[in-house]
């Protein structure tokens, strides 16, 4: 992707002020009502043909964001514009024809395949539901999809338990491709796989993207994989976006203290580097999303935090070249980061 022309690129999805709150009951008897602020006022664009990485620690709202884009969760407020239509306003029935264009690959290929359906049936399901092909042509299409994801085209009558984790993830990818989508959310698609299998699936996702001209939202916590596969990256913390940038800017020149800490926490398979490296160790844990910190949500763990950070509102600032950062002390921090 050519990073300098990002403004001219065609926007596939425009997400504005997305909010998703989950009402919960807390207390020993569930007597107190509370709200989990899973995603709080998040805005970003997804360009056609790109891979947008979405990273953050558990509970930061990255999966909730992905699910909300697909309307698997109906957002509490905000808009998700897809090809000029605001998906949030559509009724379930009106969404149906759009659903085939927006698909998902889940994290765990063990629990997302029905054990009583053959994999051929599983892959054919979206084709049948959306009535994309006459019944006679479905078997040939299933074989083609199986070949595309690197499996033997004749295994369609087997059941999920006969396959390894990596093969199952290939099946899930074939199923996502069956309805010929243009946008696929990959929700931690390799986290549940063995190390030697992860690289196979990453390569497959990249090949498939080229072949089917797909746009990906790639959700992951493994930053090295995200750097490898993404064009641009969004960093989330506790329901808010901290930083958005092209991958070279984000990994080469991170401007948010949280991004910086996250990057230094990732180990590399190189002892010389590791033993010399200066790590920024964040103190404490991620705060609670039921009662998130006031002001900047990261301020309790930030080494640059000033008293004002716990009070004043933080907005994303544009540093140019599509590099957005949500930090009020950017100027003071400067190169100390």
């Amino acid at each position: 992707m050519n990073t300098t022309t990002s403004t001219e690129q065609k926007v596939l999805m425009r997400i504005r002020n997305l909010v998703k709150h989950f009402p919960v009951k807390i207390g020993a008897y569930g007597e107190k009502a509370a709200v989990v602020h899973a995603v709080d006022d998040v805005s970003f664009d997804i360009f056609r043909g790109e891979t947008l990485g979405l990273v953050g620690e558990s509970g930061c709202g990255k999966s909730t964001t992905g699910f909300s884009l697909l309307q698997l969760y109906r957002p509490s407020s905000g808009s998700i514009e897809y090809e000029g239509t605001d998906l949030v306003r559509l009724k379930e029935k009106e969404l149906r024809p759009i659903r085939k264009r927006i698909q998902i690959v889940f994290q765990d290929p063990y629990s997302t395949l029905n054990p009583r359906m053959t994999i051929g049936e599983a892959i054919a399901e979206p084709i049948k539901v959306h009535e994309l092909l006459p019944t006679k042509e479905i078997p040939a299409r299933v074989s083609k999809l199986l070949t595309d994801v690197g499996l033997d085209p004749n295994v369609g009558n087997r059941y999920p338990h006969e396959f390894s984790g990596g093969q199952r993830q290939r099946i899930c990818i074939a199923r996502a491709l069956a309805s010929e989508p243009e946008f696929v959310v990959c929700d931690e698609p390799i986290s549940a796989l063995d190390v030697s299998i992860q690289a196979q699936i990453v390569n497959l996702l990249m090949d498939i993207q080229e072949k089917y001209k797909l746009t990906y939202l790639f959700i992951a916590h493994d930053l090295a994989v995200v750097r490898h596969i993404s064009d641009r990256v969004v960093v989330m913390y506790l329901g808010k976006i901290m930083e958005i940038a092209t991958k070279d800017d984000l990994f080469g020149n991170p401007r948010h203290p949280y991004t910086k800490a996250l990057l230094t926490a990732v180990p590399e398979p190189d002892p010389d580097r590791e033993l010399q490296r200066k790590r920024i160790i964040l103190s404490g844990d991620v705060s609670n999303a039921i009662d998130p910190p006031s002001g900047c949500r990261f301020h309790p763990r930030c080494r640059f935090a000033a008293p004002a950070c716990s009070v004043s509102k933080v907005e994303l600032q544009d540093l140019g070249n599509g590099h957005l950062v949500a930090c009020n002390r950017l100027a003071e921090i400067g190169d100390q980061i």
């Binding site: 620690e57 558990s58 390894s164 990596g166 093969q167 063995d194 190390v195 030697s196 299998i197 992860q198 690289a199 196979q200 990453v202 390569n203 990249m206 916590h221 930053l223 090295a224 994989v225 750097r227 490898h228 596969i229 991958k247 070279d248 990994f251 080469g252 800490a261 996250l262 990057l263 230094t264 926490a265 990732v266 180990p267 590399e268 398979p269 190189d270 002892p271 010389d272 580097r273 590791e274 033993l275 490296r277 790590r279 160790i281 964040l282 103190s283 844990d285 991620v286």
Partner: protein, 330 residues
């Protein structure tokens, strides 16, 4: 340095309905006092079962069919349950992967910590609680006296893992076995725990075996690394040599398939084809042969022995189980 642990030819299998799963097939290694050993491999490679076999912390279906485990000269495989209990938690401490399920949700943190001291060290409860509080301070849990009266659910995942670490260290064991202690944690919390363990290790001079699937994690942490595959050690060496001069095709493949944070290219990752073996049959040839691109005829007939790498210096302790010499083919 003095040897703490000497394992010879260990074999462990599981009885299942259709026969046996041969999880550990002839593992031999030693560990020095104060040494930190990293054990790396994929799920099902036998890394956890090997280490749990040392203190027989195994499910009922498991059988140790061969081998010896000597902890400072004491043979552990022949101990009865009572004798083993005097070793577990006292001379050998454990840290498990999931601090959520390895703490009892019904008992206060203090009681769970102190229990071991009362049992092993015959302390009174008051003494044991006092010492527990001191160890909570040491692992970075503030307000420790108050924490003793809390229940596990009141702590975050990272805090619970700190409690597990305190628990493992409380009775001043010679050896701590840490089984993927950071896998369930977020990367910033993982960094906290790694720094803590490195720091404690220099303070207490405890030997540590750190089991993981993450080669990157070990790079800044351990003295020596053992790579396991199909229930056997395929390669071992001091830290640097595993990364700079790997000699087993599996180690090489694994290192090449890891994307690096410092590299910005988006070329295809190199992969290891195929999938890890199932171990329903005891391997009689190299378990990695079906996936190996340097495979020789011999590899499919004979199981390679773990032998010193040709040309390795004696202090690199570099051993590899491979018939093909892949030195120049990387």
């Amino acid at each position: 340095m003095a040897t703490l642990l000497e394992v010879k030819n260990l074999e462990t299998r599981f009885k299942v309905r259709s026969g046996f799963i041969y999880a550990v097939n002839g593992v031999s290694f030693s560990l020095d006092k104060g040494e930190m050993l990293g054990v790396v491999g994929e799920s099902g490679c036998g890394k956890s079962v090997t280490m749990m076999s040392l203190i027989k912390l195994l499910p009922p279906a498991a059988q140790i069919t061969n081998g010896s485990v000597k902890l400072e000269g004491t043979e552990l495989t022949t101990l009865n349950k009572k004798e083993l209990n005097a070793v577990r938690g006292a001379r050998v401490g454990m840290i498990f992967q999931d601090p959520m399920t390895s703490l009892n949700p019904f008992l206060k943190i203090g009681l769970q910590l102190a229990e071991g001291l009362v049992y092993h060290k015959k302390m009174t409860m008051a003494e044991a609680l006092k010492r527990s509080a001191a160890y909570l301070d040491m692992v970075g849990i503030s307000n420790s006296a108050h924490r003793l009266n809390e229940y596990p659910h009141q702590l975050s995942g990272g805090m619970r893992q700190r409690v597990m670490i305190a628990m493992a260290l409380l009775s001043e064991p010679d050896l701590v076995i840490a089984d993927e202690p950071t896998t369930a944690l977020d990367v910033t919390i993982q960094a906290q725990i790694v720094e803590l363990v490195k720091d404690l290790r220099t303070k207490l001079n405890t030997s540590i075996i750190w089991i993981t699937h993450d080669l990157s994690l070990l790079a800044g942490m351990v003295d020596r690394i053992m790579v396991m595959y199909g229930g056997a050690i395929v390669e071992e060496a001091v830290l640097g040599d595993i990364y700079k001069d790997p000699r087993h095709p599996y180690t090489i493949g694994l290192l090449n398939s890891i994307p690096r944070l410092s590299a910005s290219n988006s070329k295809r990752l190199s992969t290891i084809g195929g999938a890890p073996p199932n171990l329903f049959v005891k391997p009689t040839s190299c378990p990695f042969a079906p996936r190996c691109k340097y495979k020789l005829d011999r590899c499919e007939k004979e199981n390679p022995v773990l032998a010193t790498v040709p040309g390795a210096s004696s202090d690199s302790r570099h051993r590899v189980a491979c018939w093909a010499d892949v030195r120049d083919k990387k």
